[in-house]
């Protein structure tokens, strides 16, 4: 049965503050105003070698008023929960809009902010799909489980150190705007991670092996058997690490890659997720996060990858980290195509960008990470669709003569236009004549986005599909972080450039 929104959040003066702020904004002549109240509780636990090494439990609470006034944005936020204070914040937002208008006038610009329409969603409530709110689980139980699992790894041969961490978030948002939309929402997410480290003291060599369990929009049940087999993963880590320590260094060159969902999600995030953000493609992030090679004039034309490539954006997938009922501009969560049969067919939008580029409606990608930050277009769950009749991962491997099977994410980097990327991973298995014959070390793969997706020769079936993701996607100035999921099957890529990272280091 779905949860209800916490009473402690509903007991806050949400509507009174919203009414005061929106009334003031209207009285000062705003064309549009929205009020957003947020309470976000984030807690973390860290253990080193099964001992507590740090924890935090932080609740951010406050509200923001955003206005369009005279065709210009104004934004202000506050924390004082009185109606007078909320009205004052609305006045500050209007004052910021007026300051902006002066600068815009001095620059001789005629750009005006207008928003795409959205049906009014009057008084809607939405709660994400989870069973046990991790904040209702006693700290002793959480710390105890992390310590027990750390100790299990630490007891294994060849494991010298174990780092463990757990992040948990409980997010409440209340939104009201001058059109009449009012939404109240609650989301829960968590991310457990365990890393085993092996050190060969005599040679000075060391390496690590991390769990590949993804962060999820689930509750504490994720650690007690739902959605991931932790016992199985923890059991494999020490042997995988020992094998990695003994593994030969990779020979640089071209290889066929079978990329596991535990690694491919991050490549999708960087090379498709960010590249199909329309605010980026238009230049609004040009000085910071960057732009996109997938420019707006290429919509419907750009050959993004092979014909097997079908990518969707959604804010609706169960347990997805970017899944919501309504976004931070009151737009209902949707699902749509970004890449179809290898061609760019869609973008991620917010209301302003949608209007500016002639879309009738935003697809609901506005998000602010805290009450003190302005909503910007942030990533939906961007996912690669599996081939309905596609192969299992071992059968993809079975078709490769000389290649590498890539598992787990580690290092990532991509350029400001999303062309050139380089990724490493947790484990790289050498494939010869369709069979895995041990691990390789010092591997990185480097490619240009359209070449890489163009080389995709097979997409795995639904049985290989995993929803991966991250808590820490960064964008905008002031910087904001967002959690996002990416679902994908295993997939086969032909002739990808593999680097040897010790050679890159000049050793």
């Amino acid at each position: 049965m779905p949860h209800e929104v916490d009473q402690s959040f509903l007991a806050l003066p949400l509507r009174a503050l919203a009414d005061a702020a929106l009334a003031r904004a209207r009285a000062l002549g705003a064309e549009h105003a929205d009020f957003r109240f947020e309470r976000v509780r984030s807690a973390s636990w860290r253990l080193r070698d099964a001992k507590p090494s740090g924890s935090s439990d932080t609740t951010d609470l406050g509200y923001a008023v955003r206005v369009v006034h005279g065709g210009t944005w104004g934004f202000a936020s506050g924390v004082d929960l009185s109606m007078d204070a909320a009205a004052k914040v609305a006045s500050q937002a209007v004052a910021m809009a007026k300051l902006s208008a002066q600068v815009i006038k001095a620059a001789g610009s005629d750009e005006r902010v207008e928003l795409a329409g959205e049906p009014v969603h009057a008084d809607r409530t939405w709660v994400s799909s989870y069973e046990i709110d991790p904040f209702t689980v006693p700290d002793e139980e959480k710390a105890g489980l992390l310590a027990e699992w750390s100790a299990r790894l630490l007891a294994a041969n060849g494991v010298n150190h174990v780092d463990a961490s757990l992040l948990t978030v409980h997010e409440n948002k209340f939104y009201a705007d001058t059109a009449g939309t009012v939404t109240t929402q609650q989301r829960v997410r968590l991310h457990p991670q365990f890393t085993a480290v092996s050190v060969d003291e005599s040679s000075g060599e060391f390496d690590s092996m991390r769990t590949i369990a993804p962060p999820v929009g689930r509750g504490w049940e994720y650690l007690t058997g739902q959605g991931w087999d932790w016992d199985s993963e923890l059991e494999q880590i020490p042997e995988l690490l020992a094998e990695k320590m003994r593994a030969p260094s990779v020979e640089a060159g071209l290889y066929d890659l079978v990329v596991d969902p535990s690694n491919l999600w991050l490549t999708i995030h960087e090379s498709i997720g960010h590249a199909t953000e329309l605010d980026r493609a238009l230049g609004y992030e040009a000085a910071y996060a960057g732009t996109s090679f997938a420019t707006f004039d290429q919509l419907g034309k750009l050959r993004y990858g092979s014909e097997l490539m079908n990518v969707t954006g959604d804010r609706t997938a169960e347990h997805g980290l970017a899944t919501i009922g309504y976004d931070d501009e009151g737009v209902a969560g949707q699902s749509w195509d970004l890449v179809k049969d290898g061609t760019l067919v869609g973008y991620q939008l917010d209301r302003r960008i949608a209007k500016l580029t002639g879309f009738e409606r935003s697809n609901g990608c506005a998000y602010a990470d805290s009450p003190g930050h302005v909503p910007v277009q942030r990533m939906a769950n961007v996912s690669l669709r599996p081939d309905p009749g596609g192969l299992a991962t071992e059968d993809l491997i079975g078709g490769v003569d000389r290649g590498i099977y890539v598992v787990g994410d580690r290092s990532w980097s991509i350029d400001m236009q999303r062309y050139n990327f380089q990724f490493t991973g947790q484990r790289f298995f050498r494939i010869e004549n369709g069979r895995i014959i041990g691990q390789l070390r010092d591997v990185a793969y480097q490619a240009t986005t359209t070449d890489f997706w163009g080389s995709m020769a097979a997409v795995g079936g639904p049985q290989t599909y995993v929803l991966g993701g991250a808590f820490n996607c960064g964008k905008a100035q002031p910087g904001q972080v967002a959690a996002v999921s990416h679902g994908c099957p295993s997939a086969l890529f032909k002739g990808v450039n593999i680097l040897n990272t010790t050679q890159e280091a000049g050793r």
Binding site: R46, R48, K51, P52, S53, G54, S55, S56, D57, T58, T59, G62, W73, F75, A76, S77, G78, D80, M96, L99, Q102, V103, I104, K105, A106, A107, S109, D139, N160, V199, S202, G204, F206, S208, G283, Y284, A286, A287, Y288, G290, F293, G372, H373, V376, S411, D415, M416, Q417, N420, Q422, D442, T448, G474, A476, Q477, P478, G479, E504, G506, R507
Partner: protein, 464 residues
């Protein structure tokens, strides 16, 4: 709650009075911000914010050791003060013994302004800057340039009180200005950044003029392949690489054999010569223009920092002294574990000891090499060598016979800052710089430019 009790020092006192734990640290952070963002010669988003976060650290002794609990809340009201203190105490009782447990710091004199109202910024900080920015937009438009960028000003007044009697305060202003100019077709791009305490020392017109020159250099385009090139790294690029090195300079991790600063066979590389140049890498809370907190502020414990160390006085620290690795980062706890001196991280970083040469003079002394603008998307590839990857961004210029001859394509690099220090053949004059990649987290740096004879440009990036 009376209006009086909203004063941060009184909230700190009240929380300490409520504490029933063995030890208690209370940190009140009063934060205000103002920002402007622009794209294509027009303002886009903006904002002013004001907030308070109260952090309570409770420490509880037990048979097996002392545990700690940390709880932080924004916008705490009088009614929530006691629940907050109790929550921290409950967290401490629910946690196992903290391995970093130490006696709380005592005996530091009270800050003279502890009882004073917090410092605050507002949109007024841009009173002169905003009109000048508007004029820069107009000039850029007339000159065929598009300006993008961000101006941010923050002020945090931190009040720290402990059950051991500390009453400390630090005000940290933090301002950044980033200006990016592009040709309207976006095939050319140039960048300049500044860190500032108050926006009185930044001039958008001057920065725009600097960028106009660089966009001019880019009118001649030269395609170069991947490879190793003689490269001039400007101060911002050096700062970004050395900040990452500092974040990887945990004494404990090194002693455990898991970083670039680990010595094969055990121990750390302290005492080892990292560069033949007489370079000193240091931090100093009192560094002029880069002032940072003179005492330790820890809102949670981590690998190299401990909530038990809150209030610990910080002093000038040389991480590398005349080329030799001198200090790694420790808390009191990890100093004990590793047998190394207590040397916590400090909020600024300075590299000096180079020659008194400007970047322009270093360009003039270059026969053939690359001049970078800045680095981007820096991530660790291999901790064993501290190999980092990333991109060049917003202008790679070819220098021939002492002059810039044109703009080169961007590259992906794979390089280690530790290795770069060892291979650098020249360091210039140290100047204040904005570390572009890490400016969301770290803004206070002064660096020289470095000349590296063989910088590893691993592949070409088509990105602009």
């Amino acid at each position: 709650m009376s209006a009086r009790s909203n004063k941060p020092h009184e909230i700190v006192e009240r929380a300490l009075e409520l504490s029933r734990a063995d030890g208690c640290v209370v940190i009140a952070d009063e934060q205000s911000t103002a920002n402007l963002r622009w794209a294509g010669n027009a303002l886009t988003t903006n904002g002013v914010t004001r907030g308070r976060t109260l952090t309570v650290v409770a420490t509880v002794g037990g048979k097996q050791g002392t545990a700690s609990g940390v709880v932080s809340r924004a916008a705490v009201t009088a009614d929530e003060l006691e629940p907050l203190v109790r929550a921290a105490e409950a967290a401490a009782r629910g946690a196992g013994p903290a391995e970093d447990a130490q006696a709380l710091v005592a005996g530091v004199p009270e800050s003279p302004d502890f009882k004073d109202a917090p410092a605050e910024t507002s949109s007024a900080v841009f009173a002169d800057f905003a009109p000048a920015l508007g004029e820069a937009f107009a000039r850029a438009r007339a000159g065929g340039r598009e300006l993008y960028g961000f101006a941010n000003h923050e002020l945090v007044s931190s009040y720290v009180g402990t059950s051991t009697g500390l009453r400390l305060r630090h005000d940290q202003p933090n301002g950044t200005l980033e200006l990016n100019a592009k040709s309207p077709d976006r095939t050319r791009s140039a960048w300049a950044g500044r860190s500032t305490r108050d926006f009185k020392d930044v001039d958008p017109a001057a920065l725009d003029a600097e960028l106009a020159v660089r966009l001019g250099w880019a009118q001649r385009r030269i395609e170069l392949p991947a490879g190793r090139y003689e490269t001039l790294l400007p101060p911002t690029a050096v700062a970004d690489l050395l900040i990452y090195q500092m974040w990887s300079a945990s004494a404990r991790d090194a002693a455990e054999g898991r970083t670039v600063f680990s010595k094969p066979g055990g121990g750390t590389r302290i005492g080892e010569k990292l560069t033949e140049l007489p370079l000193t890498l240091r931090s100093d809370p009192n560094e002029p223009g880069l002032e940072a907190s003179p005492f330790l502020l820890a809102h949670s414990s981590g690998d190299d920092q401990s909530v038990f160390d809150n209030g610990l006085p910080l002093s000038a620290t040389e991480w590398i002294r005349e080329g030799e690795l001198n200090r790694l980062i420790t808390s009191r706890h990890t100093a004990g574990l590793t047998g190394l001196p207590v040397s916590p991280a400090i909020g600024n970083i300075v590299l000096d000891g180079g020659e008194d040469k400007s970047l322009e003079e270093m360009v003039a002394n270059t026969e053939r090499g690359l001049l970078l603008t800045c680095l981007w998307y820096i991530r660790e590839v291999d901790p064993a060598t501290l190999l980092l990857t990333g991109l060049t961004r917003d202008g790679v210029y070819l220098v021939e016979n002492g002059e810039v001859s044109g703009e080169v394509n961007n590259f992906r690099f794979n390089e280690s800052p530790v290795s770069l220090l060892g291979r650098a053949v020249e360091a210039g004059r140290t100047e204040k710089t904005l570390p572009r990649e890490w400016s969301d987290w770290f803004t206070r740096a002064a660096m020289p430019a470095l000349r590296v004879p063989d910088f590893n440009m691993s592949s070409v990036s088509q990105g602009v």
